[in-house]
């Protein structure tokens, strides 16, 4: 009691100082929060709002665009410019190709990265670090550079087709009948195999582009996986493939889904690989956006509408993925 009595007067003298200091800190915290929000607003929300505004604006012939509130850009995307007289699904088809390339390429990347990453996590710490550094380093290569590389590898006169012909592989394919199968798949002309301007080349390059990301996305989940889970399965009679199917895959199904989704959204906006490798009839929405905004037609409002639709598509897939992961976490 006496101790409290001694302390109290001293405490009564002090209050203004700490309170003022606390106030100053709070003001500073508020200022930083405000600044951050301003940055987010200016860098993210304002451009997004601008795209939204432009997408409902009107094109001015030979110039830019003007304010407006029209749905015609969106209608054009869905059923064509001549609607209701004539209905075309040109732009929806492009969206279909966007999704198809992105789905196939992201699934290929994740499925091939899974066994690689699993084996990587079983290596020594040092080996794992070296692999990760190497993979991170490859991310510094630009998309253009990688696409150029594949362009050369797949080109008819100097790439793999030449190697196929020179090594006799083409003749062997013809002799065994596989050549006709490749022709059916659009991967051969009458004389030799050809890879360029094909869905195969497009998807291959896109999955190559995101493959390091797939490894990095799967790495944390796989390295956290308790090795004794697989060992326990082995002692219960599971062969290596059974272990993978019944233990490892179910244990990492959520990170797998997450990786596919993230890479899908990333690839949805892929541009370079599509313009170089895809048949123009199978070009994507992203290519079309570029053509309308910067290319020959100079129709910014329509370009903006297309990018809004691309954005909405990505958001829809993310929401579906979120739902899936929630239900499988709860009940599966």
């Amino acid at each position: 009691m006496t101790v409290v009595g001694h302390i109290r007067p001293a405490a009564d003298d002090a209050p203004p100082r700490p309170e003022r200091a606390a106030l100053r800190w709070r003001a500073l915290g508020l200022a930083i929060t405000l600044l951050l929000w301003t940055v987010v607003l200016v860098l993210c929300l304002v451009p997004l709002a601008l795209v939204l505004v432009i997408s409902v604006g009107q094109k001015v012939e030979g110039a830019g665009w003007e304010w407006g509130f029209t749905a015609e850009n969106y209608i054009r995307f869905l059923v064509g410019a001549q609607w209701p007289a004539e209905t075309t699904f040109l732009y929806l088809t492009q969206l279909y190709w966007s999704m198809r390339y992105a789905v196939v390429a992201s699934v290929i990347a994740v499925v091939t990265a899974l066994p690689f990453t699993y084996l990587m996590t079983r290596q020594s710490r040092r080996a794992q670090a070296l692999w990760l550094v190497f993979l991170l380093a490859t991310l510094s290569l630009s998309e253009v550079f990688i696409v150029m590389g594949w362009d050369i590898i797949l080109s008819n006169n100097s790439g793999l087709p030449m190697l196929f012909a020179a090594s006799g592989l083409t003749d062997w394919l013809k002799a065994t009948g596989w050549f006709d199968v490749l022709r059916d798949w659009g991967l051969a002309n009458p004389r030799n195999v050809k890879f360029k301007t094909s869905e195969f080349a497009t998807v291959l390059t896109m999955s190559y582009l995101v493959w390091p990301y797939a490894v990095i996305l799967l790495y944390p989940a796989l390295s956290r996986l308790d090795p004794s889970l697989a060992e326990a399965a082995r002692t219960m009679g599971a062969r290596p493939w059974t272990v993978a199917r019944t233990v490892i895959l179910p244990a990492v199904r959520l990170p797998l889904l997450g990786a596919v989704l993230l890479l899908f959204v990333f690839l949805l906006g892929g541009y370079v690989a599509v313009t170089v490798f895809a048949d123009p009839a199978k070009h994507t929405t992203a290519v079309s956006v570029y053509e309308h905004v910067r290319g020959s037609t100079l129709n910014a409002p329509f370009g903006a509408a297309q990018s809004v639709i691309l954005l909405v598509t990505a958001a829809v897939f993310l929401v579906i993925g979120h739902r899936l992961s929630r239900t499988s976490r709860g009940g599966g």
């Binding site: 004794s228 060992e231 326990a232 399965a233 082995r234 002692t235 219960m236 009679g237 244990a251 599966g332």
Partner: protein, 365 residues
Amino acid sequence: MGALSLGNIGKEYGEARAVDGITLDFPEGQLTALLGPSGCGKTTLLRMIAGLEVPTRGTITMGGRDITRVPAHKRKFGMVFQSFALFPHLSVRDNVAYALTIAGTPRGEAAARADRLLDLVQLAGLGERRIGQLSGGQRQRVAIARALAQEPDVFLLDEPMSALDAKLREEMQVELRLLQQRLGVTTIVVTHDQREAMTMADRIIVMSRGKVEQEGTPQEIYHWPATGFVAGFIGRANFMDGIARDGRIMVGEIALSLPQAARFLDGSPVQLACRPEAIRMGEGGAGANRVQGRVTFVRDLGPVRDFHLETVLGKLVVEHGSDQSTSPKIGETVHLTLPPEALRIYPRLPPQDLSGGVPSALAAE
């Protein structure tokens, strides 16, 4: 089936020698404990028996058949892991039925077998639960039931109690022992806990630095530890360094007599060990090996008291029933008798060879 035998099994990781030429037999239907401090190679040995590690040398045979290179999934040895390694994406029942499911047993039959096993480990009715909803003790029971589902030829447990709290651990030791006796399955338990080994095992194999120090029944190992290491690791012991002379052992100025002393040549360095409960304290009797000691500390443990004493032989700890009338206080001087038949003697090795955690006064509680 038949007995499991190890013939000169060794495992090296680069330069490090984890298991160093071990030859052992595991009789059918018995529970054997592999006991030793961490890093003594006991888990590596168990993993080689399970087929999860390939020995660098030696052979493993099961009923006369060489299984050294047979992969784990073809051995039909059930194993309980230290972390239990239960599959988080499966229900309790599906975990237990895993071995049956992947072997192609019809679903209904596998589920029925799993339910019988859950009943056996006293988890009846919890089949639908998810692993995340179970307590540590329940998880361990699931792990045991799962390992038994394939009716294993050998049942292996790697530190099965280490994830449980002390009270639950003792209950589970008894329960596991009763279960093992009921099923009569050849069982090998790896543990670093001597009480656990003594509670459960028919036979204990004490290991140190990749080698077998001693094998025997719990009583043999406790009362006749073959080496100073075993004396220190199993239970507690007072250690004294001495020199053999004229059929007795000189510890400092004191000559102690014991039956085995004559086996040592004059002048050879020896180590003596004596259990704290074997030292008699009080005035009564004349007899050999009597010294005086001054009480420095009394540790009251309920049923027993530990007296820490300063003597001419060095520091000694004596355990005494707390109900006995003679209860010296700190600072008092008492008479101690070290009965010759309770003293154990070992050749004294250069210090670095005794580094298995044996301090000079009192080792391992």
